[in-house]
């Protein structure tokens, strides 16, 4: 008898717990929500406190309006685009979102943010403010990619691409993309981390809207949150080599009057920083493993071992000269985008104040030693 009563008591308690389960009281249909996938931020002339935000959401109705069977990606006559943009001037990104909500009948949601576009003309103060706002909000996906543009963030997010521009930009660097070399992407949290970190400066890819697509055109360099310079798209390859992050890209190597092509399979680096009597010596040892794409003999006769070695020498000399040039370019703007300062800090934590206050100068004046070791591991099918 007692057992049965106890069992009823337990059952009643368990049932009472259900009252605490909030469940779907605030249920929202998926059709009533709209994900903000892109945020663009431009400065507003004459209004230093205001920011012009462009908020991008995918336009899901478009698929139902047009015949989905044609597979044209929802584009017809240049009228309908697969996204909607909202332009709002406000003091923060969050208040811009709140204002934009008055123009749309679906509730915004930031958990799937894909791309953040900054205009390069944003002041250091604005960029600090916006990054802080984006990092502070716990509902925003910190894995979104950050890009910069010289035109306007609005024009980038207005590009007439098949997929929404924010999605197109993210897709360039998504994990499935094997190639890495002509662009140096950073995610939102990495951008924030590098800007805050002592001895390492952030960089983001520069993009611009082309006719029917979005083009990556180099790398913007920052010192903290201050844009200080940029690298061209070709120089970005050498920057990536200095970082040891080149994967699966082909580059052409000039050799006197002629040239040949290699496919860099993978590169890695060994970084060292040695304090010397005349300032720091920064050493960057690059190891490249490559395949041969084309030779100077057009496969007329078999490649000899000696020829392969000569190719390796040429690659080493070419990459060394160009990596050194890009390194000097980084030094000229004192932007340590490779992270030597942080490495030095980790080894010499007692010098934290010095590194924090003077690493820019120190990096700019440092002696550089770049060495490249290349190994051509495959010559392909032809002789």
């Amino acid at each position: 008898m007692r057992m049965r009563r106890a069992r009823w008591l337990v059952a009643a308690q368990t049932a009472a717990l259900l009252f605490l389960a909030t469940g779907c009281g605030d249920y929202q249909k998926i059709n009533d929500r709209s994900q903000i996938i892109g945020i663009g931020v431009d400065p507003v002339p004459d209004k230093p406190d205001m920011l012009a935000s462009t908020l991008q959401v995918p336009n899901l109705e478009i698929a139902t309006q047009q015949s989905p069977g044609l597979g044209t990606g929802g584009r017809q006559g240049g009228e309908a685009v697969p996204y909607k943009n909202f332009y709002v001037e406000a003091t923060s990104v969050q208040s811009a979102i709140s204002r934009a909500q008055t123009m749309y009948d679906k509730s915004f949601f930031l958990g799937n943010l894909e791309t953040v576009v900054f205009q390069t003309g944003l002041s250091e103060r604005d960029l600090t403010r916006v990054t802080e706002q984006l990092m502070r909000d716990e509902t925003i996906d910190k894995l979104a990619y950050v890009v910069a543009t010289r035109d306007s963030a609005r024009s980038v997010l207005e590009a007439r691409t098949n997929a929404p521009p924010a999605t197109t930009i993210e897709a360039m660097w998504y994990n499935d993309m094997p190639q890495r070399g002509y662009s140096a992407p950073e995610k939102l949290w990495q951008f924030w981390r590098d800007a805050e970190l002592i001895g390492r400066e952030p960089h983001v890819p520069l993009v611009e809207a082309a006719d029917d697509s979005i083009r990556v055109g180099g790398t913007e360099l920052y010192f903290g949150y201050q844009p200080v310079g940029w690298l061209t798209q070709d120089d970005t390859v050498f920057y990536n080599l200095l970082m040891g992050q080149v994967r699966a890209i082909s580059i052409s190597i000039p050799d006197g009057q002629r040239s040949f092509d290699i496919r860099v399979v993978r590169s890695r680096v060994h970084l060292r920083e040695i304090p010397g009597p005349h300032g720091m010596v920064l050493a960057d040892e690059i190891h490249v493993r490559a395949n041969l794409n084309s030779t100077e003999t057009m496969a007329q006769r078999p490649l000899t071992n000696r020829e392969v070695e000569r190719y390796e020498d040429v690659v080493e000399r070419y990459l060394q000269a160009n990596c050194l040039r890009v390194f000097h370019a980084l030094q000229s703007v004192q932007a340590d985008a490779i992270g030597f300062g942080y490495r030095y800090l980790i080894r010499h934590p007692e010098r934290i104040d010095e590194i924090r206050d003077r690493w820019g100068d120190e990096f700019g004046r440092a002696h550089v030693r770049v060495t490249v070791k290349c190994r051509i591991s495959r010559e392909g099918n032809l002789i």
Partner: protein, 391 residues
């Protein structure tokens, strides 16, 4: 005597270790990397290591104390060693410290849950947790031991797997080995000790697990070492990914870092929610353990049997809930931890048990005579062996 024997063999070694190991960490778990980097700068990993070593050492002292007085709860042998009134006074010092400690732990966990339930009021989240914890405590320490044996290994495995993955994923795997300043390290350790606050639960559980010479004193040590592994792994995973200066800027570094990894094609795509589910289970278990422990302690202070702890849970559980509701901001909670709980934990976790042990040694007080400690265990083992040998 009969009653004592009955309860002597309640928790297995495994359950005891799981119970001890799930009785500390939550108060600082979500914020300790920030605190460590704030006070110890680039010596944070050394001060953390020192904290873990102190935790392990202190847990060993706790184990020795328990083995010295195998059939008594903590308040009882405190009275035996310090004298009746001094013992009661010292034991009652634990009550406000632990109430505050549990309230702050509940506050932090609820703050974390707010990320995932932004529209649910804090009050309801806290109420749900404290109700479940109170229900567990009501069932007594044996039930909590069994629950710990399930929840703790799951949480441990979950944390090892996820933070191991985060650590392996880091794009700049730099861990500092240099040592800069003693004063910074000491300051860090001073403020990090609340990680091991909660360990005094071992003293009140004393009569509920089997004491074996040379074995049972290591149970708390194993529990503290498991905690140490978690603490070091999580810290390294965070600092290697975020770097030292940015870690100081985030309010909940653990929460931020688990958002940074997205395992595609994994059973659960957002790893964060798994960790949160596990940690909510863990914190509820932890609260339950301590509601029981604190109620039993109060029962002993007022002179009731520790089996009559149930009425006191009606004071302990609402008090914890109230404290968690009074705290307004994360900074306030952090200040409570660094300003009040840090010094309090040095007194409650280090000073009192150490001096109790010292005084007991000097005065030669012990109750672990040969008859009491384990005659039956050995007999039972031998009987088992004999039974196996006989075909």
């Amino acid at each position: 005597m009969n009653q004592q024997n009955e309860r002597l063999y309640n928790l297995s070694a495994y359950q005891a270790i799981a119970l001890f190991s799930s009785s500390f960490l939550p108060v600082m778990f979500w914020i300790y990397p920030t605190v460590a980097v704030h006070y110890a700068r680039l010596d944070a990993q050394w001060s953390l290591l020192l904290t873990v070593l102190i935790g392990v050492l202190i847990s060993w002292v706790h184990g020795r104390l328990n083995d010295r007085f195998p059939n008594m709860t903590g308040p009882d042998f405190a009275c035996l060693v310090w004298g009746r009134w001094m013992g009661k006074l010292l034991t009652s010092l634990y009550v406000p410290v632990y109430l505050l400690f549990l309230g702050v732990s509940l506050y932090f966990t609820v703050s974390l849950m707010k990320y995932f339930f932004p529209f649910t009021m804090r009050m309801w989240l806290a109420l749900a947790m404290i109700t479940v914890a109170w229900r567990g405590a009501w069932c007594g320490v044996e039930a909590m031991g069994r629950a710990s044996a399930v929840v703790h290994p799951l949480t441990f495995a979950g944390i090892l797997a996820s933070f191991g993955a985060i650590l392996a994923n880091a794009d700049q795997p730099l861990i500092p080995f240099a040592f800069t300043s003693v004063s910074q390290t000491v300051s860090g350790t001073f403020h990090l000790l609340p990680l091991y606050l909660g360990m005094d639960l071992i003293l009140i559980v004393n009569p509920y697990y089997r004491h074996r010479r040379g074995k049972s004193e290591w149970y708390p040590v194993i529990a503290a070492a498991i905690g140490g592994v978690v603490v070091m792994l999580v810290f390294l995973a965070i600092v290697v990914n975020l770097g030292f200066t940015p870690t100081e800027r985030v309010a909940y570094p653990v929460q931020v870092v688990i958002q940074l990894i997205r395992l595609r094609g994994f059973l659960v795509e957002r790893l964060g929610i798994v960790i949160i589910i596990l940690s909510v289970a863990y914190t509820t278990l932890f609260l339950g353990n301590h509601i029981w422990a604190l109620s039993a302690t109060i029962a002993r202070i007022v002179g009731a049997s520790d089996h009559k702890f149930r009425p006191f849970t009606f004071f302990v559980a609402p008090a914890i809930f109230a404290i968690s509701q009074i705290i307004a901001t994360t900074m306030q909670a952090r200040d409570i931890v660094t300003v009040i709980l840090a010094p309090a934990s040095w007194v409650a976790v280090v000073l009192i048990p150490m001096s109790t042990h010292l005084l007991a040694t000097i005065r030669g007080i012990r109750t672990d005579t040969r008859e009491e400690i384990q005659p039956q265990g050995r007999q039972r083992r031998q009987a088992g062996r004999r039974a196996r040998r006989a075909p």
